[in-house]
């Protein structure tokens, strides 16, 4: 982040010097300054001249490294900041490898903690949500310790994090598992001394089709309105489902521009991949090594 601060200072002092420092960053079409009252226009993305740039992008790039894609809201976008953040993320990854994980994976995180014995703290839990992009990317781990639900939100690129391990790599049927807060505690209880599980090398990430039993109401949210796949029958009176029906928005899946405004276009993703591609083999080898580590105990 130091570099980003320096660059921001340079931007304020002289834009010409900066454009010499980082050619091809400043003169881009996306650099907008949001003015109050003015309608913000998003200019069309100008891709690089290489016509095969999209073909070179791996299929699973956006699923495995989602935080490398910037947040799509144009009012918060800044090309230069995003580029500098990606550099810092790669630098952090070279020091502390961040494994591939998904919502539903069971993970162990070690954090520096001056008040803990041994100066660090290890927590095991299931990843129930993953959010934000760039250096601010975070995930929430949930576990039940001594009959008490515990959730910790970790920032993936925080310097306090000492290691991230994936104990069981799997996905669930839903994108967010926030309903585990209202589920029976058995579904989010994991032993703190859990062993990393064996996984075949090169196998696709398994989807756990488990259906969770929720506790009776009151809940944190109206789960009957969320179209959840990973919960058992909610057992509510008919009026709840009638109300949920009224709140459905079946037309939203046809709103092409809403869908578009929530994503980063294909060409831009390819450009981001092209930018980090010199570091990509290293990232992939650490990812593969992480998987192999999980395979080895079964062989010996």
């Amino acid at each position: 982040m130091v570099m980003a601060v320096v660059a921001a200072a340079a931007l304020r002092s002289s834009s010409t010097r900066l454009s010499r420092l980082l050619p091809g960053v400043c003169g881009e079409a996306w650099g907008h300054q949001a003015r109050r009252g003015a309608v913000l226009r998003v200019l069309p993305f100008i891709p690089t001249q290489d016509p095969d740039v999209i073909k070179k992008m791996p299929e699973d790039f956006r699923a495995v490294y989602p935080e490398f894609l910037p947040g799509p809201k144009p009012e918060y976008r800044n090309r230069l900041r995003e580029k500098l953040e990606r550099q810092d993320m790669l630098a952090r990854r070279s020091v502390m490898p961040i494994p591939e994980f998904y919502v539903g994976s069971i993970m162990a995180v070690t954090v520096a903690d001056p008040n803990a014995s041994g100066k660090n703290n290890r927590f095991v839990g299931i990843c129930i949500q993953r959010g934000d992009a760039g250096l601010r990317a975070w995930f929430i781990l949930r576990n039940v310790v001594d009959h008490q639900g515990v959730e910790i939100k970790y920032e993936m690129y925080s310097p306090l994090l000492q290691s991230i391990e994936v104990l069981r790599l799997e996905k669930r049927l839903d994108d967010e598992l926030l309903y585990l807060r209202d589920a029976l505690p058995i579904y989010s209880t994991f032993p703190l001394d859990m062993e990393p599980e064996v996984m075949q090398e090169g196998a696709p990430v398994p989807v756990n089709p488990i259906k969770v039993q929720l506790k009776p109401r009151p809940w944190h949210e109206r789960w009957e309105r969320k179209n959840l796949q990973g919960v058992m029958d909610l057992g509510l009176p008919e009026r709840f489902y009638k109300k949920a029906k009224l709140h459905e928005k079946p037309w939203e899946k046809y709103d092409l521009m809403k869908e578009y405004r929530a994503t980063i276009p294909e060409e831009e993703q390819a450009d981001i991949f092209r930018e980090i591609s010199p570091h990509y083999p290293l990232m992939e080898s650490t990812r593969r090594r992480g998987k192999r580590k999980r395979v080895l105990p079964s062989i010996s």
């Binding site: 907008h32 309608v39 913000l40 226009r41 998003v42 200019l43 069309p44 993305f45 891709p47 956006r62 699923a63 989602p66 894609l69 910037p70 947040g71 799509p72 809201k73 144009p74 009012e75 918060y76 959010g131 934000d132 992009a133 928005k249 037309w251 939203e252 046809y254 709103d255 092409l256 521009m257 809403k258 869908e259 578009y260 405004r261 929530a262 994503t263 980063i264 276009p265 294909e266 060409e267 831009e268 993703q269």
Partner: protein, 177 residues
């Protein structure tokens, strides 16, 4: 939480769009808004050139661009694309037009598929900006005059001077032979 959706991979829209959608207050709410835009998109695909208010034309343009881009990328064997075409084009023969005419026409295009022209306001009226939205490569005569500089006096003189020079060179060549 500002995080990109990763389930779908969407090609970039090749026109400038508003960062946020226009609400177009409608008694039926957001659903009515889409129904209204659907009419415009259907008209555009059917007639290839339509005159509208700017706000509506500009908003419908993005939807038309996305629909054509989807048809080009996935073709008519892709169920979600077909559902989308079925929703956005209320007349069913236009679904055939989208996949068999427009997708073929724009297959190798590198620029936008539509064009938005400014149009004169209606007088007397509320002076809303009017636009003409059209599909590129339509069969109608072009709306914008080509500004040719061919008949400008200095271009005529330069052209004559160039012809003179060539004639002189030819004569010299004959003499030397």
């Amino acid at each position: 939480m500002n995080q990109a959706e990763i389930r779908k991979l969407i090609p970039a829209v090749r026109v400038a769009i508003n960062a946020k959608h226009r609400k177009f207050s409608n008694p039926k709410g957001p659903e009515g808004r889409l129904t209204m835009l659907r009419k415009t998109v259907t008209e555009l695909v059917k007639l290839e050139r339509v005159e509208l208010n700017y706000q509506r034309g500009d908003e419908a343009r993005g939807y038309a661009e996305r629909l054509i881009a989807m048809a080009i990328k996935h073709g008519d064997r892709h169920i979600p694309t077909m559902e989308m075409a079925n929703y956005w084009l209320t007349e069913k023969q236009l679904v055939h037009k989208l996949f068999k005419v427009l997708a073929v026409r724009y297959k190798d295009h590198t620029e936008s598929y539509t064009k938005l022209h400014k149009a004169p306001n209606i007088y007397p009226g509320f002076y809303r900006e009017r636009v003409v939205l059209e599909l590129k490569g339509n069969p109608f005569p072009p709306l914008e005059k080509k500004n040719s500089s061919h008949n400008w006096i200095h271009n005529i003189l330069l052209e004559e001077a160039h012809q003179d020079y060539i004639r002189k060179k030819l004569k010299e060549g004959e003499r030397s032979n």
